[in-house]
Symmetry: C2
Subunit: 195 residues, 2 copies
Amino acid sequence: MGKVVAALSMSLDGFVADENDSVSELFGWYQNGAVEVATADPRWVVHVTKESERFLRTTLGEAGALICGRRLFDRTDGWGGRHPAGCPVFVVSHSVPGGWPREDSRTTFYTDAIAALEAARKEAGDRAVSVSTPTLTRQYLDAGLLDEITVSLVPVLLGEGTAFFGAQVVTPVRLSDPEVIESRGVTHLTYRVLR
Amino acid sequence: MGKVVAALSMSLDGFVADENDSVSELFGWYQNGAVEVATADPRWVVHVTKESERFLRTTLGEAGALICGRRLFDRTDGWGGRHPAGCPVFVVSHSVPGGWPREDSRTTFYTDAIAALEAARKEAGDRAVSVSTPTLTRQYLDAGLLDEITVSLVPVLLGEGTAFFGAQVVTPVRLSDPEVIESRGVTHLTYRVLR
């Protein structure tokens, strides 16, 4: 089985979006370098430092499935049916949005977070399942189902917004020392969850 | 004038103490190595990695004054009158605690946070003023008086507790990329506050 990884860009004070649900202060590192990286979404070409490229090629390259919540799905309009990582998307949602599922998209909908993860792991096989939503991250942490946490730590304080982490039921959650990739506008930190 | 630095050990989810006000999950790096470092407090000898020693010698070595709030002062019993960094302590408090000030201690009390900082900077001269309390960090950030933020980032999620950062009035606060010292049980990150 592949690993389950929660990966998000986060401000130093712990937010993955600001109080207006904007990620503009956090995503600058996707466009602050000279190395062009194409994604599976032709509308989204990034230009990063060579350090961030190394980070991105690993994370985009190893993803076999992606899990997100309805809010992120809606905000990105379902990535137009094709996520930049090029892998199937499993959306945890109370209801299936109008117009979905679509025949041209490998996007499926689940009401149960654990069932979504099981399906995503099956789909991903030996590749990683990437979790892109804070609330799901907490649920999988509490259920002992998360293997890694990758924080792209951005040097900014946002004051308020959507927190990456929150009140897990089971604490403390101890992590390994991180693998560190220092870049411009971001420090990529990859931790293993210790059990 | 010396710089003003906020320096604390913080969990990956942003807490400087857990919900029971304990720092035990965060201070392990002070005793997880082979290098003995004496402090100005003879009761407090630390044993750290050589990487953390490099970090500590810089931060302890450059501190010319320390500012804290009443809660930390009370919890440490005023560090017995002598802070491990060996420098004068400026306590921001609505009232002067019983038994203080003491003739054998360079500890003074201020009701106003800005006045305390002015006095501490005067005392420190060209050396740094170290801010050890989250609420004061936020006040000095908002007042544009903080030069650096040093986070000793500990690989643990606490879920709840006392946050290092909080709702600053003036956001976003943009920071430089950090100087990074990777160690065992901690990653030391030093950011400059950009204005």
